[in-house]
Symmetry: C2
Subunit: 211 residues, 2 copies
């Protein structure tokens, strides 16, 4: 093969300690400052997202940067409606569940189920791997953003079909999630839901089985 990679990087213990800090201090942010992100920053994060592993190198991720105020409002309306239903059904003492109104940046992410890129490799028994590939791309953005002091929040209390219609995307695109990005009002190393007493982190040992 003519391919010759550049020299592989060595990641030292100082880097790994910072990486651990990054995982620890990454939050699902709901409280944003209004200050906009620097021009081109989101596109840079999306470039990083495209380095994520995808099944059969299918790269099914599709990123929709939502800037139109009418569409943003329609998404917020859908959130309000779905959240009202959820409040009725699970009766939670609503923590703040979205930062849609304040966040300077809205990003919707889809998985293209019609792409021929990757030629279907690896998806036959588990077609959901296209969605999982897209989730890895999203999580790459989350980490890259946090490393620049930018917070991200995942909004899942939405109707996937309605969001697809609001954003006028192809029917074969499956909605993965809607994200707010912006500078957070505060930084923390524990989840807000834990601080609010909604739920606690579970002991790691409890999620490991040996077979």
């Amino acid at each position: 093969m003519s391919h010759s990679p550049s020299a592989a990087p060595h990641f030292d213990s100082a880097f790994r300690a910072r990486l651990f800090d990054l995982f620890s201090w990454r939050r699902d942010v709901r409280r944003f400052r209004a200050e906009p992100l620097p021009l081109g920053m989101l596109e840079r994060f999306i470039e990083i997202a495209c380095l994520a592993p995808s099944v059969g190198l299918s790269q099914p991720w599709r990123f929709v940067i939502v800037g139109d105020s009418g569409r943003r409002q329609a998404v917020m309306d859908n959130f309000e409606s779905c959240n009202a239903d959820a409040l009725l059904s699970i009766r939670y003492a609503a923590p703040k569940l979205a930062g849609l109104r304040e966040a300077p940046c809205h990003l919707a992410v889809f998985a293209d189920h019609a792409t021929v890129v990757g030629r279907g490799l690896g998806q036959r028994t588990m077609p959901e791997t296209a969605d999982y590939s897209t989730v890895r791309a999203v999580f790459s953005i989350w980490l890259a953003a946090r490393a620049e002091g930018v917070g991200m929040g995942w909004v899942s209390i939405l109707d996937p079909v309605i969001i697809g219609a609001i954003l006028d995307v192809p029917r074969d695109w499956r909605f993965i999630g809607y994200f707010c990005l912006g500078y957070p009002q505060a930084e923390d190393d524990s989840p807000e839901l834990e601080r609010l007493g909604w739920e606690q982190r579970q002991p790691v040992g409890g999620c490991i089985l040996r077979r």
Copy 2:
């Protein structure tokens, strides 16, 4: 609130450049050296995985460390069978699709759909967010492993129901993926499927829409 976080870390440009290297040099590894991982390393990676964001703090991830040679063989048999079917249907000139035989470490990951942790918050309109949360945990392992020179490969050519049966896990656990971990035979900054001519990386601009 009595909660007082420790001082938030600042991630400088040197760290961010290394983080970019980490994303660039993370590979979906198929070729492993037989050398085992140091004792306790996988458990450390799982601790990092548990820092991933989960819907409603539900922490649905379940990790099954597969050490039993009979079960490993049964998983490999299932891979061979599913892969033979796939070869018939999509006629690919089989690249190496799994490192199951050589990898010192086998890890199966599931999402517990019956957990009450998180009390269902955020999952009503999109129950698949439990699976997506688990995928983020998996990708955390992938990155943490790469930072220690350890490679990871995702095996998706498997039958989820049969894998659940082989590993004797609760029925409410949904199979997310089966992973090989070990030291890679080689390091590279381009995907093996690209080097083999299977597929190419797509231009980033093509996956961005503005609405």
